[in-house]
Symmetry: C4
Subunit: 260 residues, 4 copies
């Protein structure tokens, strides 16, 4: 059932570019995936903007966030975010750390992020906050040391997103496709929550609705549908989708086939 290593590298590179293409990642942030056959390793790009990440940029890391085969290029400074979450949460297969424009206002104001429509229910039971100040005092806010990563992983707990005060968010998923869905739709949910707040009243999903709607939307069908959409949009943005209906449809079919 597991992907080949080559397919996993291709997929995690594509997830980086897809999430960037939807405006959630910019020059910074990163997406990783657990190694498809060795759960004690994860795959992540060398240091470069997610929108530019190609399969050949993807390297293997241990759960201590050490690169398996050293390279001369720079690595991401915040690798421990990924390593410590993979260590703490065996079921997590993919992690995204980002500074999305719609999520940051929550990280700055301390306002509670809540699922306000069904697609935002992928937040899960709660979106806890983590503040580097609590355990480490005044820092550069970068999560670079193993103990910082471990502290963040504890704050995440059994949830799927943790909001980092004055910094951004870290999101987890049981697959790259689920992670991509959750990352993008939580960002969309945040944007509409801000607008609803401006209208004076926010009426979120209740606990049962968020559980039911979260389960529904994370089924293979909805997740694959969204993945195909963002994937074709990426192809268009990268100039790979040609004109005319035939080629777009063909490209979509090819993508769908790859994922099977």
């Amino acid at each position: 059932m597991s992907l080949s290593l080559a397919a996993a590298r291709d997929l995690v590179a594509r997830a980086n570019r897809m999430i960037a293409n939807e405006g959630v990642l910019d020059a910074f942030g990163h997406v990783s995936t657990r190694h498809p056959s060795d759960p004690s390793r994860y795959l992540m790009s060398r240091s470069r903007a997610p929108e530019l990440v190609q399969p050949e940029d993807i390297h293997e890391f241990t759960l201590d966030s050490q690169i398996v085969k050293p390279i001369k290029e720079r690595l991401y400074g915040e690798r421990v975010i990924h390593g410590e979450i993979y260590r703490a949460r065996p079921e997590v297969m993919a992690v995204c750390h980002h500074h999305a424009p719609s999520i940051l206002p929550f990280c700055i104001s301390g306002m509670k992020l809540e699922p306000v429509y069904h697609l935002g229910a992928t937040i899960g039971a709660a979106a806890p906050f983590w503040d580097a100040r609590d355990d480490f005092g005044n820092t550069n806010l970068i999560v670079a040391k193993p103990e910082e990563g471990a502290s963040l992983a504890r704050a995440l707990g059994k949830n799927w997103i943790v909001l980092m005060r004055r910094h951004g968010a870290t999101v987890a998923g049981r697959s790259l496709e689920e992670l991509t869905f959750r990352t993008i739709y939580i960002a969309r949910n945040a944007a509409v929550q801000i607008q609803a707040h401006g209208l004076g009243h926010v009426s979120p999903l209740n606990a049962e609705e968020r559980r039911l709607a979260g389960d529904y939307n994370l089924q293979p069908g909805p997740v694959a549908r969204a993945w195909e959409y963002w994937s074709v949009r990426l192809d268009k943005a990268e100039g790979r989708a040609r004109t005319g209906r035939r080629s777009v449809a063909a490209s979509a079919r090819k993508l769908a086939a790859k994922r099977r």
Copy 2:
């Protein structure tokens, strides 16, 4: 007067892509049209993001929302939204269900959506709310059962849009062109209503103005003008509009001719 089936499939596929290209639909939502010669059937895509829908994706459904010729691909889970509205409203020829970013804040806050400029008068007399909780308690918010679709259709009543709490909106029209116009301009109206609310005071059209302006804007002239615009923009986005004035004009003429 009625379109051929092939032309109707082409048109409903195009309406999906046009509304998506204007930012109202994303990975989710769907546009359908009543069958051009059999009012007991409607035409809708198999399950895929509206921006990707091609004529060959369009299938026939009964008003019970059963597919006429079963296929192996997934179908939309919320087909009953369409089937129940076509059943309840014989004059409705097209339906769009969406989660537009400018509409959701109303669905979340409960703020009344009102026509605040003449093009928003296509809302009609009222934009009622529907809450799945009222009839069905806590659900995943998906309108998948016939009784849920029927409940939503009752909330729509004789209106042209119904706002679904914590979910999105469903819009109806007497043609695909009218539906497209209403869907996009209500989303635009919602966005400016939110901004006007932020300035402290919203002064909407009164009842007579909304009736007069709604009637004016839904005449064939304005509707065709907007359709041409969104259609050429779609062609550009899909790489079909070539450079230079001649080809753009030619493409527009061809589209106009198709619609006659």
Copy 3:
């Protein structure tokens, strides 16, 4: 000094597309220019979305807003906005009517639009409101009758923009280039005024600053610089600007030469 008729048609078509390409015009709205050699006539497109307007769509109209050589295609319903302003204001050489998303919140809320940065000083001394209700009671809000156009022109008075309640704005200029500059920068000014309002305090230019900054920015230099920018952006959007520095520069030079 005056343009040839062919050059004027080309220029007014391009101004339509440029202002649309900057997001100020959408499916509706229109840009006209006074006839370059006959001040009793003006040039405007037949009815189509401004982004699509080509030189061959431009026709001549009398100041009564009658077309000089009748055509079979539809004409804009609100031609009298243009005709009545050209009649009332001999120095006005170009007019734009639009429903820009940043301007509408002022038209809806009644909030006073003010120059809040130097480029917004092109508003001029004041941005008066006009409400169709005052002279005509409840209407469809469309300015289609000569007396409606004349009422609007009176509300404009000696100013350069008039805000139409629940409808949009009409802007005037002493040339197409000046009109384009004023139209776009007033829309930008409105957007930042809304954001500044959200921060709790708006401190606009005072009367002398707005006069001095308005005069400075409407000099030929700044106006030509902005026109070149929007023009090259239009060329890119229409696929006419090729890759590489040489061709973009060449295209810009050609545009600059045309305008001399």
Copy 4:
């Protein structure tokens, strides 16, 4: 270590286009760099929109803001902003003056701009205000006279950004890459500060965090990563990035090599 003059012209032209491509500069504003081998001169474009600036548009200016080899084209009216800052601050190697939509609301409202996430810490210790009215009374707001430039440079002091009331901002850097990073991320920081303000509470970095995070992000690694990202995005926008992974990666490598 210093760049050749040709490379510096290329780089400053590219920085103009990159910052414009990210939406911070529009028809107005400008980016300059100090001459790579003669600290008493700086390099800046003749008067044209930053998005259009090519290496051949770049000319040499003295610190009095006089062009070294006169040309017949127009020059920017606000050259003294650059000249006076280079004179007052020997370590400054690059300057950008702009009117970014997210920065203007601070210039209009007088709201304090603060680093609200780590990437905004590039603001530095403070973002002081300057008001032309204080020293010069009512003006056209244009900083065109040497004494106006000198007054602005005094307000900037030892900081890296100065907010100009009812006008825009001027940003300084120790290299073009640092300037580009600071300019874009301060604009992003401003946008999320506005949104956080709308949620009711802004909790900025404290003094030690802003110093530590500012130092971290302005290291060569993060700055080069962001530069590569904006540079490849510019290439895409200008039609120079071809389809497929190979060419994008090649183009990125070439850019990285150029900067070494």
